[in-house]
Point group: C2
Chain length 235, copies 2
Amino acid sequence: MTRYSGQTRLLVAVDCIIFGFDGQDLKILLIQRGFEPEKNKWSLMGGFVQPDESPDEAATRVLKELTGLEGVYMEQIQAFGHPGRDPQERTISIAYFALIDIHKYEKQISDQYHAEWFTLNNIPPLIFDHTDMIKMARKKLRYKAAIHPILFELLPGKFTVPQLQNLYQGIYDTVLDKRNFSRKLMSTGLLVKQQEKDKAGSKKGAFYFKLDKKQYKKKFQAFLNFIPNPDNLLN
Amino acid sequence: MTRYSGQTRLLVAVDCIIFGFDGQDLKILLIQRGFEPEKNKWSLMGGFVQPDESPDEAATRVLKELTGLEGVYMEQIQAFGHPGRDPQERTISIAYFALIDIHKYEKQISDQYHAEWFTLNNIPPLIFDHTDMIKMARKKLRYKAAIHPILFELLPGKFTVPQLQNLYQGIYDTVLDKRNFSRKLMSTGLLVKQQEKDKAGSKKGAFYFKLDKKQYKKKFQAFLNFIPNPDNLLN
DNA sequence: ACAAAAGTGTTGCTCATACACCCATGT
DNA sequence: ACATGGGTGTATGAGCAACACTTTTGT
């Protein structure tokens, strides 16, 4: 078999927008680049697609390298391929977003890359078009989370309703009525109430809930409307 | 500046899923490949990303080559990059879907490529992973059209309500109540009634409508719910 | 006159929103 | 006892789905 003739081959990379939630704020994990060009500048975690792997596999590998995590929820956002986006050499980059339980990631590994969590309104200047990528990732996350229960991917095994509300409020930069939010949430049938309470946030304490995995899988594709009037809040 | 060392460069292509609607059925435009490998097999229209163009530009160029059309609604679906997807040489392909007014496309140009329109349940066997790409395109189209008024992109300047209902029914493979459908449609404020009637479909004739461009732009991102219970119909 | 498709209105009901008070506990 | 955040119930209204008959006109 001969190869296609007369065509230019390009570098193909993946970049990961890694979201985490600490119970209070939504954050993104960034690294300080260890090599030229743009050494020491902040950047998304990324890597080149290798000859034997698909872009999805590359993204999974890259995520694991940084966080130690596998089996994480990831979704392809889109390919970024403007000719001048990497001044060193033309590179097509396929962006992914990942939703991880921030408590599970291994700080030791991440420290080798000089990684840090940043809240969304404190993102430092980034190399190349990584700021655009984050913008698209947020957009896609907002869009999807308004309709599908994907934000549970960010939560630990046990979580409280007020925590979840914080998360939604942070993502849409809005304030929700707790009574309506709670009712809506319960009506999904996704939550299982625990006996135990989380006493960290208040004196009374808030009940922990766990995700009902079976219902979750079943309703993952359902249109659930977590956010009132999403029209106003997206973009 | 030195290039990144020790990395493999790959071919990067785009492939276009071109949707058209003839007033009755939703169709896809396919070509018969004119070169090896897989010469004479049916395929999506595609092409390699050139050194001076972004993937979006490549997709636009490829679409124009086949249909003669510019300024068409296109959206990136996702990158397909399984290592073995093209047996001749590893190629990453970025898939796009386009929605065109089937009456506008220029048959002369398309005939040079041996192009033909196929209804969705008559798609012939295709090369590589093009069948998967079409599947993803349909999925994305269904998903998006359930919430946003993108299907107007498929229609000519003047169209009737029953035509539009056919389109929705075809895409979701379901039957809609014409009273509810019509009311929902009118309430969007997107349509402008014309005096003229289309007498092709019936003896009584159906009024033509035009799209209100201004409202269309304004409400393009709005969540409009054209389809009752979309949960049941997606996938 | 009849066949075939277009067009139109009403009602019941579900679901979303708005809103205010009591509860439990640590200090 | 008081301050703090957690938890719950109701009433109103908007919007969606279900449903059947009349209109137009070509043959």
